[in-house]
């Protein structure tokens, strides 16, 4: 630091207070000559007053790093420890945070954003190692808003140019299901509700795969689907005792938050299972409904591949029939064969309860809310004459202006009266 003494060797005034491990030294920054140094050893009586210094503080590596960045890095490490992530994840997340901090936009961002950035770095690390961590969990741990989180997340992925793989559904199922407190009897969980973890996991996985195949997962938040699948799996393993339990009560028992869309996912999954049950020979006679189909989920899952193929015809075949009219014979012979094949499947069915429904996402199965007519072809050139009358309609007459001003003044007066200073 300038303003002190001079180096006896080279005579420069650039002396720096630097510590060599636990020994404080005054060093010349030009020639490296140690001008003065503190005491290396301490007496016994002195040592009583000393505290130990962590390695990271003694090496001076944090002198270059700003305080807010240090705080952020500490938060990253804390978050990794709370989530019980492997130690390699910690280093990667810290590296991402440091990389992000090099950008001026991040350095100048608000503290709220820097806090959320911590979560983003940890999330990206987990995604890249296929560790199933949801954004909801991270936001809950950081007490952050999902909107702020999403904005920062998209920004940082673009800024750092990262390739972030999608959330791994199978791993998420395993982690999420394991968090359900149903595998041991407790005062809140009656014996009839306790379930074996492996059985429940495998059945839930099969149900989630079924949901994925029948377009219930694409475009939706994955967690409510898994909640609904877990509930159905649990119910179907002992339906006689568990049919009376509702989804909300189930989540309360299991000590898991019920996500709001889970009930509609449950209904969708049940309707898929019902359509599959219509194709199963020994279930056709039973006239199942959404409650009774739960008892037969085991059978349905066992034959799910064939049943899905039989219960749902390809939703696109219907669309293509319409497209064909538009295009003439553009497609060639393959389409014709496809139609023939699907219709030939129908023939040996004999009398079927209903024609196969198209396999489409639920948003396409609902009737359109309003039919948008194609806009009329407008012949506006942009250079037409604008009539004065048309413009006049948007202007106030002088009388109207006076009235408006009077009304405004009156309102101001009323406001100042009602709020006395």
């Amino acid at each position: 630091m300038p303003g002190g003494g001079q180096c006896p060797d080279c005579g420069s005034t650039e002396l720096v207070e630097d510590s060599h491990y636990s020994q404080s030294q005054l060093v010349c920054s030009d020639c490296g000559c140690v001008v003065t140094e503190g005491v290396l050893t301490t007496t016994f009586s002195d040592e009583g007053n000393l505290r130990e210094v962590t390695y990271s503080r003694s090496t001076g590596e944090n002198d270059q790093v700003s305080r807010s960045q240090q705080r952020g890095l500490r938060r990253v490490r804390d978050l990794c420890r709370v989530l019980q992530l492997p130690s390699t994840f910690e280093d990667t997340a810290v590296a991402y945070y440091q990389q992000a901090y090099r950008h001026s936009g991040i350095r100048a961002a608000r503290l709220q954003k820097k806090e959320v950035l911590v979560g983003c770095c940890v999330l990206i690390t987990c995604r890249q190692h296929n560790w199933p961590l949801t954004m909801g969990t991270v936001c809950a741990l950081l007490y952050a808003d999902l909107d702020v989180f999403s904005g920062t997340y998209m920004q940082i992925v673009k800024l750092l140019g990262l390739d972030v793989p999608s959330l791994c559904l199978a791993d998420l199922v395993k982690t999420y299901c394991s968090s359900f407190r149903l595998f041991q009897a407790s005062p809140s969980v009656p014996a009839k509700y306790v379930e074996d973890k492996e059985k429940m996991l495998s059945r839930t996985l099969q149900l989630v795969e079924l949901a994925d195949e029948t377009w219930l997962v694409t475009g939706r938040h994955p967690l409510p689907v898994i909640t609904a699948a877990t509930f159905l799996a649990w119910q179907s393993l002992q339906p006689s005792h568990r049919l009376t339990c509702s989804l909300a009560r189930f989540c309360k028992l299991a000590n898991v938050d019920l996500p709001y869309p889970a009930s509609s996912r449950l209904q969708e999954l049940l309707s898929v299972l019902l359509r599959m049950a219509e194709r199963l020979a020994w279930l056709q006679v039973l006239k199942l409904d959404k409650r009774s189909v739960v008892k037969h989920i085991g059978d349905l899952l066992q034959h799910r591949h064939t049943l899905v193929r039989k219960a749902f015809r390809d939703g696109t075949a219907e669309m293509e029939a319409g497209e064909k009219e538009l295009r003439g014979r553009c497609q060639g012979p393959e389409q014709g064969k496809e139609e023939v094949a699907s219709s030939s499947l129908d023939l040996p069915e004999g009398k079927r309860p209903a024609s196969p429904t198209p396999l489409l996402p639920p948003c396409m199965l609902k009737p359109p809310k309003r039919i948008c007519p194609p806009p009329p072809v407008s012949t506006v050139t942009g250079d037409e004459n604008i009539s004065d009358s048309e413009i006049e309609q948007y202007l106030r007459t002088p009388q109207e202006i006076k009235d408006f001003e009077k009304a405004q003044a009156a309102r101001q007066a009323a406001r100042s009266v009602s709020n006395p200073p």
Partner: protein, 427 residues
């Protein structure tokens, strides 16, 4: 379809000459001046030598007949202008029979969009045509050896001009079938076809060919020599190759246009808010007057500096008309408003492909362009590089395109994405 035709014909020619052919198709060493006008490879599999040299080609025709197996020859000797898909199947038949490994050069750069300025809409089918024609070019390249082929045995319809017309006619039929809903005129297409065919001669795929066949400038507009596709293009499927018959037939509808204009005078926003009925002004909330007009139904933000933003129009002309109306209102309020630097800043379009899309699959194959976070947003965000458009793709098949400065960019982006989406049609 790989450009296997050249090698096949070379093999034929090699057989004819008793030569052994190895490795990639060699560039014909002797520049053949007889190979004059653009001779498109008739999609029916016929080789059209230049008309002028028919007389000398008897022997070569005999060679041709002898060298090719009978089935191939029958495919070649199809008569009449068949519709496009039949032409294609014959071509495929022929190509299948020519088993070859080499590739001279990647099929004509997808950047080879012909110069069609009038409509401002360059359909991507032009790319497919140029690719298609590039296959023809391979054949034509090798067919230089058959310059002396006597094709007098072929019926008259299969002369070059009528072939052009028949191809154009069939293309027009296809276009009509495809674009029943299209508002754009497709008359540009035959011109593109000609240009595409002409381009075969001018900008050839391999440099050696370009030396051998200087091409013919009179029948073709000079076109820039397009280099082979950039490395980026060859790696990533940005402008996929589609045969003409698979045009989408769907036209995105414009939903919103955002434009700006400079009124070039300082404005008193309080006075505007007082004198205009359709204006709202809340300086604590936003530092501009929000004005609305009924026809065209739009909203404008008018700032005190004189700059104005006009949103909500459904076409470029409507946006301009609306901006002029706002300027006229400001004029009538007593300000010396002008109408400078009108510019369209953003255009938003939307359409429906009418089949469900597996977004998870799309994000896997097009990871460098797509961003799909179902926890945040139900749609997939696809950032196309050329043209620079952002597309929101939903599972129901609805597509929103935004970020365009020109209408053609929206159409081009949709034509680019449609084949990619069709690939994910059947789960």
């Amino acid at each position: 379809m790989t450009p296997t035709v050249c090698s096949g014909l070379d093999r034929v020619e090699a057989e004819a000459q008793g030569r052994d052919l190895r490795g990639p198709c060699p560039a014909p060493s002797r520049p053949d001046p007889q190979l004059g006008p653009a001779s498109p490879f008739a999609p029916a599999g016929l080789i059209n030598g230049p008309c002028a040299t028919r007389a000398q080609s008897g022997s070569a025709a005999a060679q041709l007949a002898w060298a090719l197996p009978p089935s191939r020859l029958s495919a070649l000797l199809t008569v009449g202008p068949p519709p496009m898909e039949e032409e294609q199947t014959y071509l495929e038949l022929y190509l299948d029979q020519c088993a070859a490994q080499d590739d001279l050069a990647p099929p004509g750069s997808p950047l080879l969009s012909p110069i069609v300025p009038d409509d401002g809409y360059i359909p991507n089918t032009s790319n497919s045509e140029t690719v298609f024609n590039s296959h023809l070019q391979e054949v034509k390249g090798a067919s230089g050896h058959f310059s002396s082929v006597d094709l007098s045995f072929l019926p008259d319809e299969l002369t070059q001009e009528s072939k052009d017309q028949s191809v154009i006619r069939s293309k027009q039929d296809i276009e009509e079938n495809c674009k029943t809903q299209s508002q754009q005129s497709r008359l540009s297409l035959p011109r593109e076809q000609d240009m595409g065919l002409g381009l075969i001669n001018d900008s050839t795929l391999s440099k050696s060919h370009s030396q051998a066949y200087p091409g013919d400038a009179d029948s073709v507009q000079p076109s820039p020599e397009k280099p082979n596709s950039t490395p980026l293009m060859s790696i990533t499927p940005m402008t996929p190759v589609t045969p003409v018959s698979e045009c989408s037939g769907i036209v995105p509808q414009l939903q919103n246009i955002v434009s700006t204009v400079n009124l070039a005078c300082k404005l008193d926003l309080k006075k505007i808010a007082l004198h205009a009925k359709n204006a709202e002004y809340n300086p604590k909330r936003f530092a501009a007057v929000i004005m609305r007009i009924r026809e065209p139904r739009t909203t404008a933000l008018i700032f005190s500096s004189g700059k104005m933003v006009c949103t909500g129009a459904k076409s470029e002309e409507q946006s301009r008309l609306a901006a002029r109306k706002y300027a006229r209102v400001v004029q009538k309020l007593g300000f010396p408003a002008r109408f400078l630097d009108f510019k369209i800043q953003n255009m938003v379009g939307s359409c429906d492909v009418r089949f469900p899309i597996r977004l998870e699959g799309l994000v896997l194959t097009h990871q460098q362009f797509s961003s799909y976070e179902p926890e945040l947003f139900p749609g997939l965000i696809y950032r196309m590089v050329k043209p620079r458009i952002v597309l929101l793709i939903f599972v129901s098949g609805k597509v929103v395109l935004t970020g365009a400065k020109e209408r053609s960019e929206i159409y081009e982006a949709f034509e680019n994405i449609y084949p990619i989406l069709k690939g994910f049609k059947k789960a």
